[in-house]
Subunit: 159 residues, 2 copies
């Protein structure tokens, strides 16, 4: 079954190629970007400026095809794609929690972006710890690696 | 610009109607559900069982149309839809962080589900606090309300 969505804006960042990108917002501390929301949807941005962080949902637009098992950037073993954040997934949907610095008309000024320039925006949601941040978390194969994510960079394996 | 995705599974929950549903996983503590991943994608579930929580991305399949400003369940004022988690959005994409109890073949046993039965699954991502849970969070209009989210229920306003 096909499901159709619409592009509602575009994400601008300093990253024009996958190689050398930070792997997650944690590795993109301070990197600034802009989320340009198309005119017709801007009325929906009201009240967003009160939130310090937003969840961006977008398309991994440089991702083509997918594998069900992949070797993630942070690892050397084959992992199920749904146990990774790799962009080559059955549905190339990206999700990043970024810091919101300001809303200027139809443009969100954001920080800590780990997103490729030009990514088509699908949705913006306010980040709310009570909804989005559970306690007592275990992170499987990432457990020994996750503290070092800020130091790692992407290569071209998913380009 | 239209963007096409594919359904990769279906989410089963006790909630067959929007009315009376918990508003977020925080209000659905203990509620059990199952995520049935279609046969052809099951190989991608390898290694997922090591994670205590997963991010489900799905379609709000009972949502029709959208308004750019809405009165959320938790409030009495009109808010920009992107500053809310309301299901009637330009792209009706749902996002829930749920507890993963077990992976049994192609079925994820999950807990704390705030999702309507039959929701088409689009993606599963591992929840990783270093990626997904920032510090120093402010939550705008929700600030005075968010501690009470667990006690609130949905009504039919977005049906």
């Amino acid at each position: 079954m096909k499901i159709e969505f619409r592009q509602i804006g575009v994400i601008r960042t300093p990253f024009t190629r996958p190689e050398g990108m930070p792997i997650q917002p944690a590795g993109a501390a301070g990197v600034k970007g802009a989320v340009e929301v198309f005119e017709e949807y801007r009325e929906g941005l009201k009240d967003l400026e009160g939130f310090s962080h937003v969840i961006l949902i977008y398309r991994f637009h440089r991702s083509r095809g997918f594998d069900l098992q992949v070797t993630p950037f942070m690892d050397s073993e084959l992992r199920g794609v749904f146990a990774t954040r790799a962009p080559r997934r059955p549905n190339p949907i990206g999700l990043s929690v970024v810091r919101l610095d300001a809303v200027e008309g139809g443009v969100l000024r954001v920080r800590n972006v780990d997103i490729l320039d030009g990514a088509p925006l699908l949705d913006i949601k306010p980040y709310v710890p009570e909804f989005d941040a559970p306690d007592d978390v275990r992170t499987g194969w990432l457990e020994p690696l996750r503290k070092t994510v800020g130091k790692r960079k992407a290569d071209d394996r998913f380009a």
